[in-house]
């Protein structure tokens, strides 16, 4: 039986292969932040409630405080650092959809996945997805406006 608790993992993060030696019991959030220096995903509740740590794994939003890094071997991880001028980022700026900004990377990753997966998302779907994230500054109206603008832009581009 395998006795060592640490293992070398090769993770695909933001289009790069990154190698790291880490505990098998370590969460993806901790490995991204402390192991790879990608501090965009934020530790909030560490209990899967707040969504501040949301990243994409194969395009699916995941709360990285509740996933082991070792589970993501062979998958493509995208963090906020891996988004390059995504429309949702500009929409957040235009609508000033943040105050302190702590929740912003998580909201943006979740919203980015929503836009990519469901460009025709209706109000119920938007609400269902955004309920996964909490903003303590309560910028919810501005966030909703930003998401709707980016969705409309994506839909127009898809339809044309």
């Amino acid at each position: 039986m395998e006795e060592t608790t640490k293992r070398e993992l090769v993770l695909h993060v933001n289009g790069e292969q990154r190698s790291i030696v880490t505990r098998q019991a370590e969460t993806l959030l901790f490995v991204l932040r402390d192991g790879l220096g990608l501090t965009g995903a934020k530790p909030g509740c560490l209990n899967g409630d707040c969504g501040a740590c949301t990243v994409l794994v194969d395009g699916t939003p995941i709360k990285s405080c509740m996933m082991l890094a070792i589970e993501t071997v062979g998958k493509e991880i995208t963090t906020i650092e891996g988004l390059d001028d995504a429309p949702i980022q500009h929409a957040f700026v235009r609508h000033f959809a943040f105050q302190c900004g702590y929740c912003t990377p998580g909201f943006i990753m979740n919203a980015h996945a929503l836009i990519e997966r469901h460009p025709g998302a209706d109000q119920a779907t938007i609400q269902e997805w955004l309920e996964s994230n909490i903003c303590r500054c309560t910028s919810y109206q501005e966030i909703e406006a930003a998401v709707k603008e980016a969705l409309a832009a994506k839909k127009a581009k898809t339809d044309s």
């Binding site: 039986m1 395998e2 006795e3 060592t4 608790t5 505990r23 098998q24 019991a25 370590e26 969460t27 901790f30 560490l46 209990n47 899967g48 969504g51 949301t54 699916t60 939003p61 995941i62 709360k63 405080c65 509740m66 996933m67 082991l68 070792i70 589970e71 979740n110 269902e128 997805w129 309920e131 996964s132 994230n133």
Partner: protein
């Protein structure tokens, strides 16, 4: 953050998983089967779970099946609730799944994990109770198929080293008229005061509940009262509530009396919506 170390295994087959479990058990590792991992990770952080090894079942093909076989839906235990919602093969199960945690968390939480974890609401069990699903279980003695209800007494009675591979649901039953409601203390956030799932087959209502007791249940006595059309609906509901198993939960989420009050209202809504014929 998990405040202790464990080894992580990802078997590719049922046989590999059960053999690993046996070997790790012999080594004193107290292994746990691992689905989405959300509960193991969050409860580990609070020192409510401890293990020296986890066996991730997500690479076992049978645990990932979403298929139809001889008129039965085959739902793998390692399907995420999000995947089940998007595929929507069993609309009542979709409705139950949608009310668990939040959309992002449901990308990780698995069907098997929701039913076999420690958190006792296990709300995705309710549609499987009323659809009279079968459960396929793998363990040290091979693979067995049983009626899910027969093996569920407050929780699923799994032997040491066993894990759920799949559920099988009759395809015609999965599309019958149904009803689902979850009522919480506040808005859309939190555990249930009462969750109710029901379906109507051959003129008879089947109903299962969570949030009433520290376990989900479906009760023959409760259903007998609800389906007793010789009595007025109000009496049927009161008799059904009186027949609930005990104890009734009485905690910060809601008092026992309040939970029973909410349950009675939801039973009334259910009977009305499933067209039980009588006005209340």
């Amino acid at each position: 953050m998990v405040p202790f170390d464990f080894a992580y295994y990802r078997p590719q087959s049922i046989a590999e998983a059960t053999a690993l479990f046996a070997a790790l058990e012999r080594d004193g590792k107290r292994p746990l089967y691992y689905g989405g991992g959300t509960e193991i990770i969050t409860l580990s952080r609070l020192n409510l779970v401890r293990t020296a090894a986890v066996i991730d079942i997500k690479s076992i093909p049978e645990c990932r099946s979403l298929d139809v076989d001889n008129g039965s839906l085959v739902l793998g235990a390692a399907l995420s609730l999000g995947e089940l919602e998007e595929a929507n093969p069993f609309p009542l199960l979709t409705k139950a799944a949608r009310e668990v945690a939040d959309r992002t968390a449901r990308n990780q939480i698995t069907l098997g994990g929701n039913i076999c974890g420690q958190i006792f609401y296990r709300e995705t069990a309710l549609p499987l109770f009323v659809a009279e699903a079968d459960v396929i279980i793998a363990g040290p003695y091979g693979i067995r198929q049983c009626r899910f209800l027969d093996l569920f007494h407050q929780q699923l009675q799994l032997g040491r080293g066993e894990f759920v591979v799949q559920f099988k649901v009759d395809r015609a039953t999965a599309t019958l008229p149904h009803f689902h409601r979850k009522r919480r203390k506040q808005g859309e956030v939190g555990y249930p005061l009462v969750t109710i799932a029901a379906l109507k087959k051959d003129g008879t209502v089947r109903v299962a509940l969570s949030g009433i007791c520290p376990f989900p249940f479906r009760s023959a006595d409760v259903e007998a009262h609800l389906n007793d059309r010789n009595r007025p609906v109000g009496e049927r509901i009161q008799a059904a509530v009186d027949a609930f198993p005990r104890p009734i939960l009485h905690d910060i989420e809601g008092s026992a009396d309040y939970r029973l009050f909410v349950a009675a209202q939801l039973l009334e809504d259910m009977l009305r919506e499933l067209g039980d014929g009588e006005t209340v």
